[in-house]
Symmetry: C2
Subunit: 539 residues, 2 copies
């Protein structure tokens, strides 16, 4: 039934639950590797889970990247409607895998059923959103300037520009979104929708989940007649094949969600290539929240409850978890603080995603609490949520208090007033989000400037967790929140990372790509001589 070897051997049967083949998916076939095997551990009790996974090696890296490069011209040439059908078929197959995913993710990531259902729904929605983008070819963004032969002193040529895919994209899935930002997540679907082959390095914390999802993509690829090199998924632990993927000559861009150290290592490898390629890394953040006197006067308990939920939702393992709370010393501050500590203490224990994260969380809490100016307000141990408190001077002086602690940890920073809040904000690096709770008369627009200065998203009277996937969203901020604040992995513009413009000058209509032809056969909204237009050009 299943063959292990080189070449485009399509997977015959898929998925089978609790019968993991454990191989990397390359060029439509299953491949082992020379790196031995590993097993996934249960996030809840650390016991070994079913399935033996083979670590891919450098040969598999080369196979996958070479197949991606080989099939890039064919895949980018697929009509948008067919690429849309491919993405929709992935969504259909994944829908049928819901029970299997719920069972496996419960073990591999310790995430409850409701969370998995919600994340799967978002993943399916992203697939369908990008299917629509692929079908309509709206992403081409055509800009046409027609010729002016009698312009003086020189004729103006006919120039028509559109976006094209850049080539094989390497994707590193995150551990905290085993569906929505992993094998079939935002990086993968935005790259595939725009005609780029994708090679995914599966996260070693959820190889079984990855096998299910990767199998769904591979099956959809076969069923909808896509070239087999357009998708691959490699298993592995550690940095070895990750860096090899980034260094491979056929890689054209990298999407990464994970730690600062991991993102930086990939960026350094990409920058040192003979031909540097971009790495879009989403790495870390404190997501500071300013709590102004007006908010403390009006509704300290309500805000404490909102923040407690935001800090501990998903056990604090979201990239937008608020980790630093700048609390103005004002009437109501004590009430807020005590209420927040109470709420945090009441949160039921839950497992963290994997042992590495649990250890880093414990280390991070220990380092923060060891600071002489830091007091624990809630610290029940055993991986339960932690709330601590310090003052602005300590944060300004101590870089350790400005480090992210991934997991359910937050640090209250007492600030004498708005000016001290602003000094603390200015001491921080770039952030995905920066939030403020205010009341009548505050915040001022100047504080919002400070928030916007360091973050990609400013939230007023709300918490930063819960990232709406829409065109108004920006999920990406200045360094070190992300490697390139001009882009983001979330939403309908994530594909912009993986496309480049090409202009066609004086090109006969018969040779132009469909998006640029006079007749506008795709019915696109185009800029024609500076004016938005959905019609034809000429008579």
């Amino acid at each position: 039934m299943r063959r292990v070897g080189v070449g485009p051997v399509w997977i015959v049967k898929y998925p089978q639950m609790n019968a993991f083949h454990g191989h990397s998916l390359i060029d439509g076939g299953l491949h082992a590797g020379d790196g031995g095997v590993f097993r996934a551990l249960c996030a809840r009790d650390q016991r070994e889970l079913p399935g033996v996974f083979h670590r891919a090696g450098l040969a598999e890296v080369d196979l996958a990247m070479t197949a991606a490069r080989r099939d890039f011209p064919a895949f980018r040439g697929v009509p948008g409607a067919d690429r849309a059908a491919f993405l929709e078929r992935i969504a259909e197959i994944l829908t049928g895998c819901e029970d299997a995913l719920i069972e496996r993710i419960d073990h591999e990531a310790g995430l409850a059923e409701s969370r998995v259902r919600g994340e799967l729904a978002r993943t399916l929605w992203q697939l369908r959103m990008y299917a629509e983008i692929a079908r309509t070819e709206s992403w081409r963004d055509p800009r046409i300037e027609t010729a002016v032969p009698d312009r003086q002193p020189l004729p103006k040529p006919d120039l028509r520009r559109m976006l094209v895919p850049i080539g094989p994209v390497v994707v590193f899935g995150s551990s905290n979104f085993p569906l929505a930002y992993s094998v079939a997540g935002g990086d993968t679907v935005s790259a595939l929708a725009t005609g780029n082959p994708v090679v995914v390095k599966a996260h070693a914390a959820h190889p079984g989940t990855s096998e299910i999802v990767g199998g769904a993509i591979t099956s959809a690829l076969r069923e909808t007649g896509m070239p087999p090199g357009a998708f691959a998924m490699l298993h592995g632990e550690g940095a070895r094949i990750g860096v090899a993927l980034v260094r491979h000559p056929d890689a054209r861009a990298v999407g990464f969600t994970g730690s600062y150290a991991g993102g930086r290592a990939l960026m350094d490898a990409a920058a040192a290539r003979p031909d540097p390629i971009p790495v879009f890394a989403e790495m870390s953040g404190l997501n500071p929240v300013v709590i102004l006197p007006g908010a403390l006067r009006g509704r300290p308990l309500e805000i404490a409850a909102m923040l407690a939920g935001s800090i501990t939702q998903g056990m604090g393992q979201f990239c937008t978890k608020p980790g630093l709370l700048l609390l103005c010393e004002a009437p109501g501050a004590h009430l807020f603080r005590d209420a927040l500590a109470d709420e945090i203490r009441r949160v039921a224990p839950a497992p963290l995603l994997h042992r590495g994260i649990a250890e880093e969380f414990a280390d991070g809490c220990r380092n923060a609490l060891a600071h002489p100016a830091v007091t624990a307000l809630a610290d029940a141990g055993n991986g339960r949520p932690v709330l601590a408190e310090t003052d602005a001077a300590a944060v300004l002086e101590s870089p350790v208090l400005r480090h992210e602690v991934f997991g359910p940890f937050a640090l209250i920073v007492r600030c004498a007033g708005v000016d001290e809040c602003r000094r603390v904000l200015r001491s921080l690096g770039g952030q995905l989000t920066a939030s403020v709770f205010g009341g009548v008369g505050d915040p001022g627009a100047d504080l919002l400037d400070d928030l916007a200065d360091i973050a990609g998203r400013v939230v007023v009277d709300g918490v930063p967790t819960g990232v709406e996937v829409c065109d108004g969203m920006q999920h990406g901020g200045p360094w070190p929140a992300t490697s390139d604040a001009r882009f983001g992995a979330v939403g309908p513009r994530a594909f912009l990372r993986f496309v480049r413009p090409v202009a066609f000058q004086n090109t006969p209509d018969g040779l132009l790509p469909a998006a640029l032809k006079n007749a506008n056969p795709l019915g696109l909204l185009r800029q024609v001589n500076g004016i938005p237009d959905t019609g034809k050009i000429g008579s």
Copy 2:
């Protein structure tokens, strides 16, 4: 009259021809430096020109960058109409400098009056185009999604996204466009228009031209009430202050036009920062041109004349100069070749931009002609244009024949047919342009795919020189043509390199930036819930 020292001392009188102060322009004042002095050499006869220029040192780098960072909040807060007035005032002052610029550029770059007039006109036009972009704030690209409080299962928040400037931009002017891509060129104006302070490293080949233009910008800055740190220009030779500018903690992005070695050095320095920043480098290219049998049948002499003009225009010192001509062996090929060689031989001698370029040109020609498979078709020596010929096998085997020779040099590559042309194209790195001349029945769409694969612009039946500045243009291609093929330095989208999106979530109308307010006070075209809209939001 003139003061040399630290601090915001506005230049009192400007410009004075042939009375160059020779200082760097920082924070509204004149600054010398600790690196001694240098003089400009005449491109025509290598004699020393009037003016003694002081090399800026690390202290000046820090002064300029610190002032830029200090004044960033003030400068980005300037209303668009005022930034527009600033750019228009630069254009006005430069208009008054036309005679001085013609005189100085004639010496510093060996460019004739007609060329300088044309380039100045383009520079003024770029300033006015970006003034309009600044005035209308159209660059903000607002995308608004209004709240849906009763959405299930969760309310949808109000999200409003727009583009904001990133901060101080370091610009390295090019030697071959002393106006349009130098001190007040495309990089500078696109950054200034969108609220980014700019620090220019003046090209050491045209320090006098730079002083005139930098003085115009500084005067306009003062006259229109801009903060003095929004613009600086530093003199220097070699890489020392260049790398220091790129490494400075306050630099947020870099624009560079020049050699591959220079661009790569800056990229490596930027990538090694604790906080890597993007370098937008436009570096090199061969700009291959394919000449198909159909073209040779129909009009070999006409095409030869067009290409001779393109190869030798501006003494071949354009980034889009066609350097590699893939000539199909077909009837008419000999006629084409002989005619091209005749045209090239007839070109009147003219100086190259500066001694370094003249030496590199001589070396590049010598290296190519030393190849045993290369024959000279036109080679009059003394820096005059050179045409050589070889076959496809030699180019495929010898990397040296795929190196750019900057200046009036082109290599004809005999190809047995279209397939061999495609093999040669695929052996090349990324290019700014790739062109094809065809006739009835050729080229095919598959050849256009190959051209688009390696280039940012595909030209059919035309020459690549002459870069139209418009929205349909793409001036930037895959590595090593540019460092990031998604962007370009030419045209109305060049500013995209220097902005990032910020989203505002649930922000009261009173606190929103003007571009995002319900009333749409700027009258912008905005995406509102997915639909282009120029009106207000709500009742």
